[in-house]
């Protein structure tokens, strides 16, 4: 069995040659880039299109010879050498490794990886061939036969690429092939009934953090995710990246450091709300209800809009990022108490043991806890340093980012009015 990387290389070359072979003849291409898969390209081009890969030496004679014949050929150039062969671009079609940002209407015969991705998403027969090719290369006993999930993903990819043809990095064909290979490889390692080769696993391999609802759905299985839910997820995911990945790091509204601090605060508020709600449903007011009321103090203060317990955005730091997407997954933030609201202070209690108790209590209500909160130290009597770890098993899911982007305001207000707190 060859290594996964080799399989991806040859599958990519196979897919490119398949794409080239279906274009109108003669199959004479300038190949810009693709240096690492050139050998594989040569093998499949010879067997499918009956032509050769040529690495030009730049001699005049060679050029005129190449122009005279009609034999299929792939002329391999490095991207920096393109200039030397500028006049060739009029005589041959072009297969460019770098995705073109805008389509130049004058250059009709230029093809890039995103063209290949769109073409692949429209052709389920080719998809089946590619999956079979990969399974054979990996020498797995059976090749997967159900591609519903893959088709949904590719269809959605196509829609978004066509909406605005620009950068579509996740749906780069190489990434897709790599993810398919890894998923099949994983499935072959474990028994078919095991749920490890899931849609979530596939998504992490194309560089996206999955949502927990996809996390237990086998990728090549009978159960399929719904097209709508994927669409919704994709829109949500972009928003998350915008807030937590690419926004600037300085303080100021909507900036990264503020966003991560508020993420921590909102998750804490959500925990308290859920636990207090459960406690109130049992009919008696207990410890958690008291904590909840104390923690939510001051939010209705119209004049200042100040809360008693709030985060200090100076103190937010990112300690670690997810290797899949670069989203921050280990965060420290500072929770502080304002003295304007009376003497009670729950921060030392949270620091001692109550935060752990809260998390334990929450786990009793629901298993869906995809993050962990720990207290680090008291920075002073009124400031507590906390650490937020977003992780579920081996990879993270985006649910905490979604939940943490907004506080459960409606639920909080409902509970407060039930308790008669103004």
């Amino acid at each position: 069995m060859s290594s996964v990387e080799d399989v991806v290389d040859s599958a990519y070359a196979f897919l490119l040659v398949k794409y080239v072979s279906e274009l109108e003849g003669p199959h004479r291409f300038l190949v810009l880039g693709f240096r690492d898969i050139l050998n594989d390209l040569a093998i499949y081009f010879r067997s499918i299109c009956k032509g050769d890969v040529i690495i030009p030496a730049g001699k005049l004679q060679e050029i005129s010879n190449l122009r005279k014949t009609l034999a299929p050929c792939l002329i391999a150039l490095d991207w920096e050498d393109v200039g030397k062969y500028a006049s060739w671009t009029t005589s041959f079609k072009i297969l460019d490794e770098s995705p073109l940002r805008t389509r130049n209407p004058g250059l009709r015969d230029v093809h890039d990886p995103i063209d290949v991705a769109i073409w692949l998403s429209e052709r389920s027969d080719v998809l089946a061939q590619v999956v079979k090719f990969i399974s054979e290369k990996l020498s797995t006993s059976t090749s997967p036969e159900r591609f519903e999930n893959l088709k949904y993903l590719l269809a959605e990819a196509r829609r978004s690429i066509q909406r605005s043809r620009g950068y579509a990095e996740w749906f780069h064909p190489r990434k897709i092939l790599e993810a398919i290979t890894l998923t099949i490889h994983r499935q072959s390692l474990i028994s078919a009934s095991d749920k490890n080769a899931t849609v979530g696993y596939f998504l992490t391999k194309i560089g996206m953090e999955p949502s927990s609802e996809f996390d237990d759905v086998p990728f090549f299985g009978e159960q399929a995710i719904s097209e709508q839910s994927f669409k919704k997820y994709l829109a949500r995911y972009r928003k998350i990246l915008r807030i937590y990945l690419t926004s600037p790091y300085e303080k100021g509204s909507g900036r990264l450091r503020k966003a991560i601090s508020i993420l921590g605060l909102n998750l804490l508020r959500r925990l308290l709300t859920t636990v207090a709600d459960k406690e109130m449903n049992t009919g008696k007011k207990g410890k958690w209800t008291a904590y909840f009321v104390e923690f939510e103090q001051g939010k209705r203060e119209r004049r200042t809009r100040k809360r008693k317990y709030d985060v200090n955005i100076y103190g937010g730091t990112i300690l670690e990022r997810s290797p899949v997407s670069g989203l921050p997954n280990r965060i420290q933030f500072v929770l502080e108490r304002s003295k304007d609201f009376g003497e009670d202070n729950i921060l030392p209690k949270l620091f001692e043991n109550e935060l752990n108790a809260l998390l334990a209590e929450f786990r009793k209500t629901s298993n869906e806890l995809h993050f962990d909160l720990t207290t680090i130290k008291m920075l002073g009597p009124d400031a507590l340093l906390l650490e937020l770890l977003i992780k579920k098993g081996e990879h993270l899911v985006v649910d905490p980012y979604v939940e943490g982007s907004k506080a459960p305001i409606r639920k909080i207000n409902e509970l407060l009015s039930k308790l008669g707190v103004e």
């Binding site: 030397k84 620009g166 579509a168 990945l245 600037p248 730091t317 502080e336």
Partner: protein
């Protein structure tokens, strides 16, 4: 290697007096690399430089072009806008930073009197600026860009040292204020783990960006790469300061003189000033929620002129005829070396491979490469459209030298 820092006192009405971290410096192999900035308002830098030269009586030794700048300011002098010229930050720029980047040259004469001369880099900047339509502005921009480049280089030195040593001693060098005098020469230790250096080197990554219609902002997009690298540099600055500030807060508590401690006043003044300077130069762009660094047209023209001047000066020195065109590659290399901005995809990729834990930032180099190449092609197109470069019939891109 060790870090030295100062502590000052600050007063705020609701809180009282509290200690804050000041000037951060790294000492290594007998040299000092400061991480301090004052880019807030440098006023009319060119005019202030002229004034400084006049004070020392050395303005007659400066090149002719300086007189043109002087003339340029005469009109605005009349309107009275020169009052902004000599602020505290401008003074810092002239006395502390310009000599370090060879724009000015300070010689100490008798009775510790400083005399300011024009430096070799300053002459090149002036000559380049004289060919632009707004010479004072061009000159100022180039000086600030050069000063910024030095700061980024300092950060790079610190990062590589931190990476090599795992932990570093930090000394409290200067203390301002009686209440915290006991902090003088006290020592703490900072581990590289706390700073979490994802980078061993520091550069800015140029990205064309503005033509891109971003569809999916994955980490392989050049805009995102540029923004992640800048954010990461910013984050490391911040991470360097947090443990030190916390240490200062805890150590000053033991003081007999009671002072209030603001436990989380962790100022981010320093790196923010870099951002502001980059914004002033027009290098920071904010598009579709992503902030990235990109060289604007005006600055690009200035850089090309400066490159032309430095190439011609070198040719004159070697008694050769100055070239009228130079390959794009040598220009891009010069920008990388002198201003610490990466443009060529090969440079960006090798920087990511060699000095960045790019896996932690979610970057896949094989995919990113194609997008970086597209971006570079747009950069060459822009150079051609601005009339700064010509594309030869054989396809080579050549920078024009006036």
């Amino acid at each position: 290697m060790h870090i030295t820092f100062g502590v000052g006192l600050r007063k705020r009405a609701e809180i009282g007096t509290y200690p804050v971290l000041e000037d951060l410096e790294v000492a290594m192999k007998g040299k000092r690399y400061e991480l301090g900035y004052a880019f807030r308002d440098y006023g009319k830098l060119a005019l202030s430089i002229i004034k400084r030269l006049e004070e020392c009586g050395t303005s007659s030794k400066a090149p002719q072009v300086l007189r043109e700048v002087q003339d340029f300011y005469k009109l605005s002098d009349l309107v009275g806008s020169s009052s902004r010229a000599g602020g505290r930050f401008t003074q810092w720029m002239i006395d502390a930073e310009c000599p370090k980047v060879a724009v000015l040259d300070i010689k100490i004469e008798k009775r510790r009197k400083k005399k300011v001369f024009f430096g070799p880099k300053g002459i090149l900047f002036l000559k380049a600026a004289s060919k632009s339509s707004n010479l004072a502005q061009s000159f100022e921009d180039m000086v600030i860009l050069k000063v910024l480049a030095r700061k980024i280089k300092n950060l790079a030195i610190v990062l590589s040292a931190l990476d090599a040593e795992h932990s570093v001693d930090c000394y409290c060098g200067r203390v301002k204020g009686k209440e915290i005098r006991h902090l003088q020469n006290k020592k703490t230790r900072l581990s590289s783990k706390e700073v979490l250096a994802t980078m061993r080197d520091a550069y800015l990554v140029h990205c064309e960006g503005s033509h891109i219609v971003p569809l999916a902002m994955s980490s392989n997009n050049p805009m995102v790469i540029s923004s992640l690298i800048y954010n990461e540099a910013y984050r490391i600055y911040h991470a360097l300061r947090i443990p030190l500030q916390i240490w200062i807060n805890q150590s000053s508590k033991t003081s007999l003189n009671h002072i209030t401690v603001d436990p989380y006043e962790i100022s981010d003044r320093m790196p923010r000033e870099i951002t502001r300077a980059l914004e002033k130069l027009g290098m920071m762009h904010f598009l579709h929620g992503i902030r990235f660094t990109s060289i604007p047209d005006q600055l690009l023209a200035n850089l090309v002129r400066y490159f032309g001047e430095s190439v011609s000066a070198e040719a004159l020195q070697q008694q050769r005829k100055p070239a009228s065109q130079m390959p794009l590659d040598s220009f891009v290399k010069a920008i990388k070396k002198e201003f610490r901005i990466l443009i060529n995809p090969n440079d960006i990729l090798s920087f990511l491979k060699a000095s960045v834990k790019y896996g932690n930032l979610g970057i896949d180099l094989q995919i990113a490469k194609g997008y970086l190449i597209s971006d570079y092609q747009h950069f060459t197109e822009r150079l051609e459209n601005l009339g700064l470069a010509t594309i030869r019939p054989d396809g080579d891109v050549m920078i024009r030298i006036e």
